[in-house]
Amino acid sequence: MPGVWSELLGAVPPGVTEALELADGFDRALAHGLGRPGEEQAAALEALAAAMAATPLGDRVAEAAAKAAAGAAAEEHLVVLAGARTALFGAVHDALLARLDGVLGRTRDEWREPAPAGPSGAGHLLAGLRSWLHELAVAGWRGVGHDLAGAASQVIEAMLAEPALRRAAVLADGLAAELHAACGVLDRVPARRWADLWARALLLTQAGPDGRSPLAAEPVGTVSGRLLVLGVDVHEHPTAAQLQVHALLEAGDGPPRLVRAAVGAMKVDTVVGPDLWRLFDAHPVLLAALAGRRTLEVTGLPLLPGGDLVWHDDRARAGEEADPFVTARVALAGAAAPAVPPLERHPVRIAEPVLLEGYTAVTGEDGTLTFRLDGDGPDGALPVAVDRLPACGPLTPKLVARSTACIGLLRWDAGRWSVQPLAVQTRGKGGTTAAHTGDWAQGPTDPKAAKAALRNGDPVAVLRERAGRLLRR
């Protein structure tokens, strides 16, 4: 496929730059604080309102922007502004994903509106979170001190105990930890990041007229069949971790479908590296399939409208060995991709599995790594997101730099595409060997890492023992 990467990495799709400029203006206003907006902030809010004028949100955004520009934004106005910002990123997401699908030749399902689900009750906790988000917006990121960073601590603690509020709680806990860490230390503001987190958190506090969250959905049905694992993506902040498995589902006669299955766990900051897997010991079948590079036979797993399976470890069993590189070579190109739920459309969610082969890994003078793909000029050099290689697995920047094939997720952030490796093949004297992020799911297989783990003991067990002795007295 000569030239396809140049096509992806070349000119940005129309409208993307303009949409991001509008968002940047809003993000700067939020960093400054909406409690005392000046001319620059008022102009940014006005521009956002003007861009939304022709949409169904138009009148409400105009009103909210006017209130905010006057330093008098109430919670309801902030929700509308967060909605407008979310619409901008939704449009950017759609343009980027359409370009990517075009380059990959990937067919994607149409979105069909599912039955809503999720938060009902616990409205007082969501109100508490919303009030904190309002205070943050009024103060601006530069005005956040330790007291304000921690002001929602009790609300978040209570939300964590409510399964239906876990998404909002995990997000708010991550944001609060960053605000604490930044106080007095950071001399700059991650404006887009914090505005992203703030806007999503605000949307998660909203309920529709039926009292349910528009961001949650009921399953569209259940599926049974064979899961061919492509790889696992690991997410973590100080108090939460998530494993997201990307796989092809073979069920029935049609082409295989790209699906994801995620399991999450709460943690503490000292559980890092290969110990992370220990948090997921409630899912032994999943971990064994990852570590053993096996298929999974699943029965009756609920499928959500965005292509996510709801995991039930007791409805899965590990099947035969299956090399993810063979899976990717044989079946990935023809697989059907799921639609993305509208309110989740944000470039950060783009994580499209791809197989890359026949590239030259080039390490630049500044240490950055790029894959130069055959048939592409320098424009076709795809940056490798080595900073996303998790410490819990065997992939390292050096190993990736020696690789000859890679299964990865295509990502887009800060104005550019990159590939996040999930697995690589390297060629040596003894032939081709592969390393996958999930290889250590049942413990490190590398002698050095295993020794380090042995030396430090099992932190999860130590802390659970302490909890058993001290917590329930």
């Binding site: 503001v189 997410h235 902040h237 998530q242 996510d308």
Partner: protein, 175 residues
């Protein structure tokens, strides 16, 4: 507060400001938790919990204040530590050692505002540069933070997607 730095050399790289996944919190380093299960830099203190060597149901709550380096140590039942007679006790020394492992010496020194040079590489050397004295204990507050910390591991996991975690990519591999 986040310092409002106008100096041109401190201007951020624009890609960091425009990144949805910009890194804000440096990852902590793995360490053995058996002796000192909890260490944090919070509330203007280095504080933590040290397990008693003799009684498995007892822990010591130890802290050192940033700036003044005033220190305290006592049991979770608010009994003062018997080792505090002459300077810092073994629990405080263990706390500093483990904090250096977890956060790195520079981060601990910066937080506590201890003047250090290249010769300071260990927790003991860091303590030697402190000029604090014994202060009333903040035991209860620290202990309740420890209990909250432990409670995270007691929460049930999730089996559906947490889409917001895409803003929190795993960190870590070096080499």
């Amino acid at each position: 507060m986040i310092a409002d730095s106008a100096a041109p050399e401190a201007r951020p790289s624009s890609s960091w400001e425009h990144s949805s996944t910009a890194r804000v919190i440096p990852p902590v380093r793995p360490r053995k938790l058996a002796k000192v299960p909890f260490v944090e830099l919070a509330g203007g203190r280095l504080q933590g919990v040290v397990s008693s060597g003799s009684d498995i149901a007892r822990v010591y709550v130890s802290s050192i204040a940033a700036g003044t380096h005033g220190y305290s140590c006592g049991t979770n039942n608010n009994r003062p530590c018997g080792g505090l007679g002459h300077g810092m006790c073994k629990h405080l020394r263990a706390l500093v050692d483990e904090a250096v492992l977890q956060y790195g010496l520079d981060r601990v020194a910066r937080y506590l505002r201890v003047e250090v040079d290249a010769e300071v590489t260990t927790g003991a050397q860091l303590i030697a540069r402190m000029r604090g004295s014994r202060t009333p204990a903040a035991g209860e507050a620290v202990f309740s933070r420890f209990l909250r910390h432990l409670a995270y591991l007691e929460l049930p996991g999730t089996t559906g997607p947490l889409p917001e975690m895409h803003w929190f990519p795993a960190t870590g591999a070096v080499g």
